[in-house]
Symmetry: C3
Amino acid sequence: MPMSTQTRRRIHRIALVTFALVLVPWLAQAAEDVSYVNQQSGDILWLVIAGTLVMFMQAGFAMLETGLTRAKNATNIMAKNLLDFCFGALLFWAVGYCIMYGDDVGGLFGWSSKWVFSSALVPGGDGSGQAFQESANWYFQMVFAATAATIVSGAMAERTKLIGYLFYSIIISAVLYPITGHWIWGGGWLSNLGMRDFAGSTVVHSVGAWAALAGAIMVGPRLGKYAKDGTSRAIPGHNIVLAALGTFILWFGWYGFNPGSTLTQFDGLAYVAVTTTLAAAAGGVVALAVSWMNYGKPDLSMTLNGVIAGLVGITAPCASVAPWAAVVIGAVAGVLVFYSVLFFDQVVKIDDPVGAVSVHGVCGAWGTLSIGLFGSRSIDILYWDPNTAIHNGLFYGGGLTQLGIQAAGVVAVFAFTFIVALAMFAIIRATVGLRVTDEEQMLGLDIGEHGSNAYPDFQMSSTANTPTGPPADNRGGL
Amino acid sequence: MPMSTQTRRRIHRIALVTFALVLVPWLAQAAEDVSYVNQQSGDILWLVIAGTLVMFMQAGFAMLETGLTRAKNATNIMAKNLLDFCFGALLFWAVGYCIMYGDDVGGLFGWSSKWVFSSALVPGGDGSGQAFQESANWYFQMVFAATAATIVSGAMAERTKLIGYLFYSIIISAVLYPITGHWIWGGGWLSNLGMRDFAGSTVVHSVGAWAALAGAIMVGPRLGKYAKDGTSRAIPGHNIVLAALGTFILWFGWYGFNPGSTLTQFDGLAYVAVTTTLAAAAGGVVALAVSWMNYGKPDLSMTLNGVIAGLVGITAPCASVAPWAAVVIGAVAGVLVFYSVLFFDQVVKIDDPVGAVSVHGVCGAWGTLSIGLFGSRSIDILYWDPNTAIHNGLFYGGGLTQLGIQAAGVVAVFAFTFIVALAMFAIIRATVGLRVTDEEQMLGLDIGEHGSNAYPDFQMSSTANTPTGPPADNRGGL
Amino acid sequence: MPMSTQTRRRIHRIALVTFALVLVPWLAQAAEDVSYVNQQSGDILWLVIAGTLVMFMQAGFAMLETGLTRAKNATNIMAKNLLDFCFGALLFWAVGYCIMYGDDVGGLFGWSSKWVFSSALVPGGDGSGQAFQESANWYFQMVFAATAATIVSGAMAERTKLIGYLFYSIIISAVLYPITGHWIWGGGWLSNLGMRDFAGSTVVHSVGAWAALAGAIMVGPRLGKYAKDGTSRAIPGHNIVLAALGTFILWFGWYGFNPGSTLTQFDGLAYVAVTTTLAAAAGGVVALAVSWMNYGKPDLSMTLNGVIAGLVGITAPCASVAPWAAVVIGAVAGVLVFYSVLFFDQVVKIDDPVGAVSVHGVCGAWGTLSIGLFGSRSIDILYWDPNTAIHNGLFYGGGLTQLGIQAAGVVAVFAFTFIVALAMFAIIRATVGLRVTDEEQMLGLDIGEHGSNAYPDFQMSSTANTPTGPPADNRGGL
């Protein structure tokens, strides 16, 4: 029997109402869910990949540092670079993450009992996925903390006791880095003021460098670095190939460092890769040219430093300047690093074997300030998508207001980090000790600290100051 | 003329019915398609990226191994590490993948004619995308097989013939690794029993290590390793910087190894990065402390092994334990690896130049068992999303039942791998040969096997036992 | 009072009409948006990650090249490899990208004022996201340009002036590479003809190699390379471990090079990883076997070259051949590279210290031609999804027509690149100079060009020809 028109209409209506009341909202929800799930899992994927690239920068720092220092200290330098990451990860888990990203306390630091031992990372059973997002955040932030920590190693290389260095590592990862990090990235007072530091020219690099400056001052120069009349002597590194490899690794890892600081899988991350590339290239080219003009020869280790200086410089402004400005920022960093290295080495007479203070401190400050000079609201990629308005939303673009805020941040972070680090190293020096004995320094820290030899199968040159050779260094002007 | 109410109603109804019958189902399908397409392509992307990170671990193993052995064998070690990957990839394609993931045959191995030469990878023309998913699976599994294969290289370093080593590579990649892999990951009997090994503490690391143990026994110790009275002598590695670089690379690659074993682009992969980091850091710190307490000096090569031991240990439980448990698992691995290296070196007197059996075997077993001690159903990230219930769904959480199952798996895999590998190496020894001559060993395998010198521009030290120096080694207690 | 049936019906109808007119189109749009946004951000993510892997190949080339050459030139080789990337990035930004991908001019090159200084990369304020896509494209293409540029370094190693090399770098990145790149990838005449080169066997590798051939001819052989009677002498590299590390890094980076050339995050990228792996492995195994048969010993540097030859060979056909064909293509490349190295070294007598012309040129041509032999329309992954029909859509599959097109492309690119590069190097030689003095070559370019020593702590062997040793080289047959 054919269905009556009446019945057919009724069925249609029921079906339509069903769609209206059930399916359409369900579809809307499903579309949102798809979007959300894909976006969240994409964000987490990107944070893990980018964080892993940043983690690999530890190898870059280790290779660069050992390449620019002497063979007799290579084991010690490897130990410090590996161990500051190990201690850094554990301490940033135990307490650092809480201080940096816990509930804001007066704009100064974070704290919340639920964040100690990063307990927010533990997945419960509620299926909310919040713990997983937190895990991604922690992982990405942890590798940044470890980067700041490891910068100090280079400036204090070749004369620092391992035990003293380990205490330093613990303090910077647990407290020192997280506090200023909270100010700028964790919702603290500099963040509220409108300071911008996209990927950490100040938060990461300058903090590491100002601690390095304090450390280099407190531990004193290497034996023989300064003659009795104060003349600075060059102490050549033992393996420029490893130094170059380290630079390539750092550059490689920087594509996690800067583009990863978008914190989301969003279209703008490629733009950050562009500015990062251009600044690094310009820094290298300009440092080459400046060294060539000054020395009459193209200096490779200065060129390596120029590349890293360009990368440090673009780290803060990478998301809010035009490509041509990235070239300018990198080029200026390439000039700055050259004269800054000379200044600290020959004028201030602070022994920084790898130029860490100049590369990460001076160029980090430059990069942070450059936002005030070249930053543009119309370019700033954070305005492309409200979901990505991260770190903070205040941005005056280029101009005096922004420049003043940036300068305030640079000064505040310098003052706090430098003073606290000086005190910290003074305490370490007075307790577990900071500087190895002169005898140990002459023999090399590999023998003195570790009882081993990094290259036992190779014959060292008579000037290498290895255990088998005569000591060539003399006590400097400490 | 205005449209009559009747006509308007009719048009509305037709439109609505059209929506109901056509658009709404289409929308639902579209939303599902979007979800599916994005998920699948996201999964494939992640498998390729993670697999590539794991592939790079080959470089890490090569650097670690050559760093911890002598300069005169560096060419040979590079050759073995590169070639076991080449042969491994070809053999795992030809037959290994079929044995591991083909149709289950009695719980013991896989087989299916369509899998030989991994023919399932060939895209047809049906547009199903199945072959592409299979390609991603193969790629990711292949790099794991190659990891197991290359572990053996270190334990047999400095005295094994290249031809014998290549035969071994072929057999482990084609047959030995795939069989136990099938038991646990391919739907075999241990999988059905409920054994859990998320990323391969047993499947990859222990299998490599037990084969390495058999190989080290069959090839005998290096000349001069054991004095006539059986005393073990340290044979220092020739480049601790390369060993440290290798460790950094391995750690870097492990973020593909463990998080990649989610096999999908899903939120939980960041959590795996967290546990992996913490265990590695704890392993390094504890091995440092133990070596410091025992030797009076912090030993770098033991610290490197501690990091890797922590990574091996967390590989099985990384997705089902709390962060604090990851710290404990890594710390215990750091202790275990120290005493295990001493045990094999000085008590059992098996010459394992890089400590591969301790790092990958003992700590792999520990990691597998630790699921029974620390595993938690409420944490296990596989339960967060039914799509990700991979490997197998049986999991009793921590407790005696799970511990027993894990122990059964550890014992079964040890017994099978060790016995078959002993037989394999015996056959290789009896046919193409396994051990180079004493003269070749004294000259170095670089000259003996390859007719070349890894470092011709450098002057070797008199104790390096290079072709130009006098032989320093004496025949050991083989 | 209960609602009348009439009123209820009216409300239902209004609601349904609302859904029909508003919600359903909105949902359709939302679903499309989700799909588009996720796809675009996924594509950009993948381009950045893959590009970063390719960028790291710069480190691989640097390590490979310095490993295969002498210690006294290590600083210079690092400088060239770093600086060609720096100059390459800046020049490809300023003009190269415009010439390669600007509006097609007669099929010969691209040009458009809006592309100079890659101005299309600057985000405006329109929220279209186009600039971000462009940024990803530029980044990915830039690292390819830099790869082509750096290939030349190896063939001209150990006797080329830095200033001459930098001029070459500028020209290849700004003009030479982009022009032939435009022909094949930028919509030029070879593209219109149907030439296929998925990831650049010809576009990148052969172009670099033909420029290298011209450079090696123009700069002449190293001192002492050829005896007075024309006999070729082997000049061993100073660090085979670094050469092997470089090969591992190159292989690692190739998973960005080939799978990344899908340009989208799509399922087929895993398939490309499979063919890439198999060809590399086959190339290594076959080069090992060929060298073993010819020399009586397995030669490691030839095996390294075999792996890279396999990778170069599969670069063009990786997306359109079966896995078994990838094995064949890699194996043939492993044979070709061996005999080609002998041919150039001993028959044509062109001094190419790392075999770059053979690895990248000969095997690049082989890979390009192999599409005509093994390419299959039914396999070609570009046909799986219309969105991914990139590069160009013309493909005749295997067969004479395609083979002829491929051969035309190989010949055209060789002729143009080789002739223009010869002229370029002639001009450089006549102006800033191309070859260092014999004295400088004997001392090493590190001293001569840079005034530094790569390994000051190590004692060099008497044959290393370092500043402290006697010159061992004699002027060759230039």
